[in-house]
């Protein structure tokens, strides 16, 4: 088990800054996810940790020792790629045994370890098959076994699930998580799928334009974060403009918005005239009658039935707001219906700029 530290890590390709001054500390045994849209620099960061890309600037430390100038084959990491990169001309056994052969293990030892690794990923008896004879999920497991069989210090996973179908993706992410827990191996996982990141990680670093925008547990990232980028990238957030009406005595400010007036806690203590506010679609209610004075008139524009909840797109004046209603609470509005929208004051976030 190893902890990983990135210090001022920067990578420039030509004129393009792919990774911009990234500082991260990944504790040993942690399942750490780099989450971001494509082009955010997350894969490049991972490749620098693996040694496949040399940083333009900065240091990478494993357990406090710098490895920045070390070639990949001296770093002792295991890596799984998005396309699995299984060698098509080798059997499953030979694929998994590659790292052991390089390390000059004895024949018996190699056999034993390969069998053990394949058992770990539930692929016993598949030794003699070739990659093209396996399903996508099985190929993924072989890639995982090949990375794990050499007992790497760190496991690096670069979008490993994005080539699988939706159901298998959820199954495999549970398995990867279980495997990681039982081995206790420090794992760095790269994905653009925020749901996957929330489900699988101990900690998440959200990246955008080569920079780390925020780090935290999945809960912190989803619930507490007030960064505009994260609010819109992780899940959906409705944004509304608010004007300060008055400052209340208890550290709160009364803000006027198109959706009503709200008394919000001013956590940052800034004194601005206008604020950008955000709230998640599940923290608004739609009602037929006006139940509270703060509720505003709204018109249903689009209705999307998504199974466990219904997503309504409503118009309030000329602002579009998305509201999620759990299926069991859904009165079943139709497109064109006039309703009232009412926000949950406790879940309105003042967006940081």
């Amino acid at each position: 088990m190893v902890n990983v530290k990135l210090v001022n890590l920067t990578k420039v390709f030509g004129k393009e800054v792919a990774v911009d001054n990234v500082n991260l500390e990944i504790e040993h045994g942690c399942f750490f996810t780099l989450l971001g849209p494509s082009g955010s620099g997350k894969s490049t960061t991972l490749r620098m940790i693996a040694g496949l890309e040399e940083p333009t600037n900065g240091e990478i430390l494993f357990d406090g020792k710098p490895v920045t100038r070390l070639p990949p084959y001296k770093r002792g990491v295991g890596m799984v790629f998005q396309n699995y990169a299984l060698w098509p001309f080798m059997t499953v056994f030979d694929n998994v045994a590659f790292g052991l052969k390089i390390r000059k293990f004895s024949k018996e030892e190699i056999k034993k370890r390969v069998r053990e690794a394949l058992r770990l990923v539930q692929l016993e008896g598949m030794e003699k098959k070739y990659p093209h004879q396996l399903s996508g999920g099985q190929q993924q497991r072989v890639a995982l076994a090949r990375a794990l069989v050499v007992n790497p210090k760190i496991l690096l996973l670069d979008e490993p699930l994005s080539n699988l179908d939706a159901k298998l993706r959820i199954e495999m992410r549970r398995e990867i998580r279980k495997l990681q827990r039982s081995l206790g191996i420090t794992t760095i996982y790269v994905t653009h799928d925020q749901e996957e990141a929330l489900a699988i990680s101990d900690k998440i670093a959200v990246m955008n334009h080569g920079r780390v925008v925020a780090t935290g547990t999945p809960y912190e990232i989803y619930i507490n974060c007030s960064e505009e980028f994260i609010l819109s990238f992780v899940g959906h957030t409705n944004f509304i403009e608010g004007k300060v009406k008055s400052i209340l005595g208890d550290g709160r400010v009364l803000i006027e918005t198109p959706l009503g007036d709200f008394a919000l806690k001013n956590a940052e203590g800034t004194s601005k005239k206008t604020y950008l506010l955000g709230f998640r679609p599940e923290y608004a209610k739609l009602t037929k009658k006006k139940t509270r004075p703060n509720a505003r008139e709204a018109k249903i524009v689009v209705k999307e039935f998504l199974g466990k909840f219904t997503r309504y797109e409503v118009k309030v004046d000329d602002q579009t707001i998305v509201v999620d209603v759990m299926a069991k609470d859904d009165p079943g509005y139709a497109e064109g219906d006039a309703v009232y929208i009412d926000l949950d004051e406790d879940h309105i976030i003042m967006v940081r700029d």
């Binding site: 496949l52 060698w87 390089i102 690096l156």
Partner: protein, 587 residues
């Protein structure tokens, strides 16, 4: 996301980068250039520099020497005609093959491949056997009293007269055009076929939905989308004609550039001859023009996309009634024309007695016996040249492809240009330049012909090995090696344990293609083999034709040996090509 073109060779050790990015690629390309670029430069210099002084006198002969100007006009006009006729025949043939529900499709496809695997002018030998004055068809028609004079189509010449002066400015040799059209037909058909297969079907469907008629759709959508393939076909055919030396020699016509240049240099006993050099310069100019104008279309790296969509599903159009009869007649007529050459070669190869009768009066294996008795050296030479081409082709292509694909070198487009040169610069020119360079050295073609010919052929045929190997290298994901690196293998180890096995089938297939290309090479061998003992089997065909004891039957037997060898090798090449990553197809 990973950025495109990222190198897996981080410059962790600057020394390594110097070797891998500069020293190795530059030395490879230097070796290549010695045998391809240097001869071209020597020929160009030979035109402008005489006795150490710069002069335009040689170049100006174009303006007053009627022989040179006739030859230029002949070559351009006939090259244009050949290209045009090939185009007019190949486009419908390919389109029908690709889109209509006609029977015997694989047969019609196979027929187009036939001239492809036999040396081009060998077909010419067959056409003479069939259509010549004393050919099968001419003599049959005479027997049947359908004609009273032998067929002259293979020798008919139409002069082009300047109406102002009444002087003959050029001529059209129809036999030459006929054989060239039929020989180059596959080049056009196959490039157009892969382009057709890559046309997005939905584009055509969209046009139909919007009310476009089939003809309009064909010209406005299909043909336009397949244009790059068509242009590459046009250029290949035109360049092949400029380069052609075998077919004119077989029909006995000498007034085209390549032949005239060859004869000029031969008459001067392989020393400096202004006329040969000026003609060579012109051929280089045409080649370079094609290279720069058509760069987009004949780029070696483009080959990948041409190959990729080879097996795509395509909706087949049903045709009935009179249209079906017309289409089938056209296909049958074309396939007869395309196969006549091969049939002619086969009949003659087995003919033991054949004198002024439509068919041989005695058949047997005697001709092959003669070949093995008297032309065995040439057979041995051919094998030496082919194997050298295979080995050099594999090693050079593997190294250069790997460097071009995996390392971000700034001059990789320059490499691509240089490697394409042998496809556009005629072998005669390379041969003439090679004489000038190596006279009086240990590699003098008079003293040591086998070595220099083997090397020249090998580098001239390098593109045939290179394009398949390069395409395959592009298909291998960089992650293959990167996984190896993370698992503890050094770069050398990943190169040998991962990259080499991954590329192996492509290397073998590419090597075999270079083997075939070398086996069928004629022009530079003809120029460089000053003595009979250095020639290849292809040169042997001409030796046999001009030897009164042997003649066309023995020449045909030699041709058959070449064809059979190439058939076997191309079958093997295809077997390996199927195993390459990404399922590269060669034909």
């Amino acid at each position: 996301m990973r950025l495109k073109g990222t190198s897996i060779f981080p410059p962790i050790f600057p020394v390594n980068k110097l070797i891998s990015h500069i020293i190795v690629p530059i030395s490879l390309i230097t070796i290549f250039s010695i045998f391809i670029v240097y001869p071209i430069l020597v020929v160009i210099a030979g035109v402008f520099i005489v006795n150490g002084k710069f002069t335009l006198a040689n170049l100006l002969t174009i303006t007053y020497d009627p022989f040179i100007s006739t030859i230029i006009i002949n070559t351009l006009i006939m090259g244009g005609l050949v290209t045009l006729i090939t185009l007019i025949l190949a486009v419908p043939y390919t389109y029908i093959l690709n889109r209509y529900d006609i029977p015997f499709k694989s047969f019609f496809l196979l027929i187009t491949l036939l001239p492809f695997i036999s040396p081009p002018y060998v077909g010419g030998l067959g056409y003479i056997n069939m259509l010549g004055r004393q050919g099968v068809i001419s003599l049959s028609l005479l027997r049947l009293r359908l004609i009273d004079k032998p067929l002259e189509i293979m020798y008919a010449i139409t002069p082009i007269i300047n109406p102002m002066t009444g002087a003959r400015i050029a001529e059209i040799h129809w036999g030459l055009i006929l054989i060239c059209v039929l020989t180059y037909f596959p080049l056009m058909a196959l490039t157009f076929l892969s382009a057709l297969q890559n046309v997005d079907e939905s584009l055509e469907e969209e046009a139909y939905i919007l009310g476009s008629k089939p003809m309009t759709t064909f010209f406005k959508i299909t043909l336009k989308s397949a244009m790059p393939g068509l242009i590459s076909g046009i250029m290949l055919v035109f360049i092949s004609f400029v380069d052609e030396i075998g077919i004119p020699l077989i029909v006995g016509y000498r007034n085209v550039m390549a032949v005239a240049a060859y004869e000029a240099i031969e008459e001067s006993s392989f020393y400096y001859t202004p006329r040969g050099y000026v003609l060579s310069l012109l051929m280089i100019t045409i080649g370079l023009l094609v290279l720069f104008l058509g760069r987009k279309y004949i780029s070696l790296s483009r080959y990948v996309s041409v190959v990729k969509g080879a097996a795509r599903y395509r909706k087949i159009v049903r045709i009935r009634g009179i249209k079906r009869i017309l289409v089938m007649s056209f296909m049958i007529l074309m396939s007869i024309l395309l196969s006549i050459g091969a049939i002619g070669v086969i009949i003659a190869a087995f003919a033991e007695r054949w004198y002024l009768t439509p068919l041989p009066t005695k058949v047997g294996l005697k001709n092959f016996g003669v070949v093995f008795d008297e032309y065995f050296t040439l057979f041995r030479n051919s094998i030496i040249y082919s194997i050298t081409s295979m080995i050099i082709g594999i090693i050079m292509s593997a190294l250069i492809s790997y460097i071009m694909v995996r390392m971000k070198i700034s001059y990789s487009s320059v490499l691509d240009y240089i490697l394409t040169l042998p496809l556009v610069v005629p072998g005669v020119v390379i041969g003439i330049g090679t004489w000038a360079i190596w006279r009086g050295t240990p590699l003098d073609p008079f003293l040591n012909p086998i070595t220099i010919i083997a090397l020249v052929i090998a580098f001239r045929k390098l593109p045939y090995a290179f394009r398949g190997i390069h395409a395959s290298t592009l298909q291998i994901p960089p992650e293959f090696e990167e996984v190896g690196l993370t698992l503890g293998a050094s770069r050398i180890k990943t190169l040998f344990k991962i990259m080499l096995p991954a590329l192996a089938p492509a290397l073998v297939a590419g090597g075999l293609l270079a083997f075939i290309a070398a086996m069928t090479e004629l022009s530079s061998t003809l120029v460089l083999s000053a003595t009979k003992s250095a020639g290849s089997l292809t040169v042997g065909i001409f030796l046999a034709l001009t030897d009164i004891r042997h003649g066309p039957t023995v020449a045909s037997a030699i041709a058959m040996i070449i064809i059979v060898t190439c058939l076997i090798v191309s079958y093997l090449a295809n077997l390996f090509a199927k195993k390459t990553i990404g399922g590269l197809r060669l034909f």
